[in-house]
Amino acid sequence: MLDDFMTRATLAGVGVALAAAPLGCFVVWRRMAYFGDATAHAAILGVALSLTLQMSIFAGALAVALIMALTVTVLSGRGYAMDTLLGVLAHSALAFGLVAVSFLSGVRIDLMAYLFGDILAVSRTDLLIIWGGAALVVALITWRWSELLTATLNEELAYASGFDPKREQLILTLSLAVTVAVAIKVVGVLLIAAMLIIPAAAARSLARSPEAMAVVAAVIGGASAVIGLRSAYVFDTPAGPSIVCVAAIVFACVNLLGWQTRDKI
């Protein structure tokens, strides 16, 4: 079954969507959208480093994404506004990454594959890493769900309940880095943030509880991956962007329908 590249691609897309959904909810709730973007952009530097050092792309991207996310967490609240800080770090990392890639002679690198993903080239090993990473992220978030939610609502509330909200922030940061690393192959660094935010945002008006929102986001993300890949195959369009397009269309439909029903009530 896994011999078919479309099957592997679909499984990869669904895997990323499953990890991105609950994490994406937190990104939306905590207004960390730009933070996700920054981490993802930094990953291209990781890709360049891995190619230079001839190590696994996943490992390189994960390491740099993690360093980036931790740097932002440490530097935040020390002089610069968060969005300024992210703007500086994210785009510098992206620029350094692109420059670093240009130094790589010998190997011809298809940069597009990392910027927009290359889901149709997902190997069995890739699939294993994607599902392993996704399972780790989902397990982490499920384990800390109540604490993460409390810390998201209010820091002092977390302290008064007897746990450190900074540790919960760290768990999200870690999950973000893992998700970015496994999603590079699927949607590429430029569209990872879209996979985090769009399904979660689309799920908002369909859910009455935080858990429901995460589940609905997972369903929307998974469906977008399946339908997006199918359309990419039929219309011969790039796979990663097609997945994001489907998610965006779902978002638009949900909101248009929502407006209509709200007007009627």
């Binding site: 604490e147 209010n154 002092e156 302290y159 008064a160 929102m213």
Partner: protein, 246 residues
Amino acid sequence: MALVTVEDLSVQYGENTVLHHVDMTIESGEIVTIVGPNGSGKTSLLRAIIGATPLSAGRVTLNPGLKIGYVPQKLHIDPTLPITVERFMRLTNRVPRQDCVKALESAGVPDLLNNQMSRLSGGQFQRVLLARALIDRPDILLLDEATQGLDQRGSAAFYQQIEAVRKETGCAVLMISHELHVVMSASDRVICLNGHVCCEGSPAVVASAPEYRALFGTGTGGALALYRHEHDHHHDHSKSSQEAAE
């Protein structure tokens, strides 16, 4: 033994010392209010008590097994986060639904259980926060400017609720407030803070202390008048005037 003992506490943010050499205790069942100008370290003191701020010197000792109910200053729930009152209340305390109902009743807002948090009015929201803090039957309630954003009637009603809760459950209350006259009439003890403890005692003692007057200046004229005025019409003022005379 005191519920909370603060000894020689100092808190620094970088170069900036916000609290120095603060000593205070909270006994069980008493209502203590911290007043002080902006930047006087009121919130830092509360944060130090719940362990949210590293201490640069001194000690905060909580009675072993002390259960704290915390009502934050303002809690912003992003409109993108769907959560019902019930789910919110049971987030960190896995208590039976019946306890939520009871806590909401104590806080004066029954029937809100199935409402979305983002749809509540300011007053309802603060009362749900209070109910959430009460759910685990705390030994002490900590309130950080819990009436911010409420109008005068709303906050007066809120403080009455606090007194009712204290009467009902016997828990101690430590709160921060800007609304001097409302709070003063509801407290057993007032601590006037400005980086250090300027003065403390019964509301009447603090209100007439020169340190307090120096801090709040002419603004206190009105608050003081209101405070006195209110007490003219109360029958339980014998205790505070006795203390004032001491």
